[in-house]
């Protein structure tokens, strides 16, 4: 029977929702589930990992794990895979997961698939569905010639229940020999936003050229604050310098799949639609009833964004306070 290892990430002292998804998915298969926690605060997180389905916790509190260094993390993850005997290794398609998994896969000559949106495990069989061309089409990956299968799953693709506080797991500390480093982390400059990254956000409010100028993104920020949403943007306004590239949704930006995507003044170029059409519910607010965005939208409002958005923020504020 295959054994799972979940590279478990945390945010503000809690296991990230994206990692909870993977622990719970792995636990459902009935196989043993190892949670690997590389974090100076690992001790506090081990029990939480058990609540979400880990049967073993492998951790390191080494100060080197304070920030992400590919060389240290690669050595530790390779050691953890070998020590645990895991054959299916999972992480979220986060900034860290995406950088780390391919380097590990190359070192141990394993297959790796990134950006999974569906995953099926039965016995030794593993199938992962992922988008191509940022969602213009989809295909299913299968593995061959590999003892270890590595998968990066996009956040928000798998269900999460509340953890079971009665569950426990054996905990052991991971020992490994640190490599001599050729990568030195000099500084970490935190983003100004406390919000979730677009790729992990459950609600996104995105704006396009219809907002007319950069300062008008304020109405989106106000709406996003009410909803706890992250703000995104079209390529046109990123190229115009209104907002940073980290906010771009689309084929040359981020591919997103939130529960709710509210597109404001955004016509819906093919590259943008590719990047967000995986969203569960799409709301389009646009003055042009022929804008392509309406072809992908669940609900459409034809009208003036500057009138609609502030009203929408006020209305949500009212209902969410109850």
């Amino acid at each position: 029977m295959s054994k799972f290892l979940v590279f478990t990430e945390s945010h503000n002292g809690k296991i990230k929702r994206s990692s909870q998804e993977l622990l719970q998915f792995a636990a459902k298969s009935g196989s043993p589930v190892v949670s690997l926690i590389l974090d100076p605060a690992a001790e506090a997180l081990g029990l939480e990992a058990a609540h979400h389905g880990a049967t073993e916790v492998l951790f390191s509190k080494d100060a080197d794990f304070e920030s992400y260094n590919p060389e240290v993390f690669t050595t530790a993850l390779v050691e953890a895979i070998q020590k645990s005997g895991a054959s299916t290794v999972l992480a979220s398609s986060s900034s860290t997961g995406k950088d780390l998994f391919p380097r590990v896969a190359a070192r141990i000559k394993a297959g790796v698939v990134s950006d999974g949106i569906e995953i099926q495990a039965s016995g030794d069989d593993l199938k992962v569905k992922k988008p191509f061309y940022a969602g213009k089409c989809f295909a299913t990956a299968t593995f061959e010639n590999t003892a270890v299968k590595m998968v990066l799953m996009r956040p928000n693709q798998l269900p999460v229940m509340a953890g079971d506080a009665t569950k426990t797991a054996s905990q052991s500390e991971l020992s490994f020999t640190k490599p001599s480093l050729k990568t030195l982390i000099k500084a970490i400059v935190k983003g100004t936003s406390e919000k979730l990254d677009l790729t992990e956000a459950n609600i996104i409010v995105a704006g396009g050229r219809g907002l007319k100028e950069a300062s008008n993104f304020k109405i989106l920020n106000d709406l996003a604050d009410v909803l706890g949403a992250t703000v995104g943007a079209s390529r046109a306004v990123v190229d115009a310098g209104w907002v940073g590239h980290s906010m771009q949704v689309g084929q040359t930006g981020k591919t997103v799949a939130p529960s709710l995507y509210i597109a404001v003044g955004l016509s819906g170029a093919i590259q943008h639609l590719a990047g967000m059409s995986g969203s569960k519910v799409i709301v389009a607010i646009n003055s042009d009833p022929n804008a392509p965005i309406f072809q992908k939208a669940t609900y459409g409002l034809v009208g003036d964004a500057f009138e609609i958005v502030p009203l929408l923020a006020a209305e949500f504020k009212k209902v969410l306070q109850h």
Binding site: D99, Y133, I203
Partner: protein
């Protein structure tokens, strides 16, 4: 001092994707192929590096079906690359096989002081080949780089992490750097550059000569399909206030996402 730029050719972002009847892949007939947009930032950074370090030589390298892939190298040459190599390989190689082919070829050419790539290719968004090439070359890497500066023995780079966080990283050379949008503004090829690129002899390497066996292929894709059709949009009617309250009601009680 050699700088290698790894390129991938991808369908233009405007491409409407069609699926082959047996679902083994996409129908490539009529597709306009372009250099992967992130790789253009890598070419630009390599050429800028050469402008500051006249002893540097920029080598563009790609792996793919020769007849087609060679065009991406002509673009790189026209932008200022000095030499180009195509690894003539079948379509559909996975990341691990591709990375080994690139790393082996770079080694055969005497290795690199700096390897530049895009952070990902926009066809499969796999974001794997750069890290794997670095591993096979035994050099450090940084991905998603939006700022790059070379010093005597190292590179100082800025990496865009999740949530707008920036990581400032020093990489000892030789190293691999994978470019994000924002690193630079890729130049347009000049007419003399395009003429020169047309005449340039591109070095050819056969994938089969590199000793990479079929067991190195670990991942296979099948069942290509278009996304399911969406039901038509529900256009809300009435005055603005009424549309807004209908929407809030629908999101809460029909779609249940709020």
């Amino acid at each position: 001092m050699k700088v290698f730029v790894c390129l991938k050719q991808v369908p233009d972002t405007e491409t409407k994707i069609k699926i082959l009847p047996d679902q083994s892949g996409i129908d490539t007939a009529g597709i306009k192929w372009v250099v992967n947009p992130y790789d253009e930032f890598a070419i630009e950074e390599a050429v800028k590096f050469k402008e500051k370090n006249p002893t540097a030589q920029v080598w563009a390298i790609t792996s793919g079906p020769k007849a087609r892939a060679i065009e991406s190298l002509r673009t790189a040459l026209a932008m200022g690359a000095d030499e180009a190599i195509v690894i003539n390989s079948p379509d559909g190689l996975d990341a691990l096989s591709t990375a080994q082919a690139l790393a082996k070829t770079i080694q055969q050419e005497g290795g690199a002081h700096l390897v530049l790539t895009g952070k990902m290719a926009i066809d499969n968004s796999q974001s794997s080949v750069p890290q794997m090439v670095a591993e096979f070359l035994g050099i450090p890497h940084t991905t998603v780089v939006s700022k790059f500066e070379a010093t005597a023995e190292s590179f100082l780079v800025e990496r865009d992490a999740d949530g707008g966080t920036k990581e400032v990283i020093q990489l000892m050379s030789p190293a691999l750097v994978a470019a994000n949008k924002g690193l630079n503004m890729p130049r347009y090829a000049s007419l003399p550059g395009i003429m020169k690129a047309k005449k340039k002899i591109i070095k050819e390497v056969e994938f089969s000569s590199l000793g990479i066996t079929t067991t190195e292929q670990k991942v296979r894709y099948s069942g290509f399909a278009l996304p399911p059709e969406k039901p038509p949009v529900k256009l809300l009617s009435g005055d603005v206030a009424s549309q807004v309250s209908q929407l809030v009601e629908a999101l809460r009680n029909e779609a249940k996402v709020i």
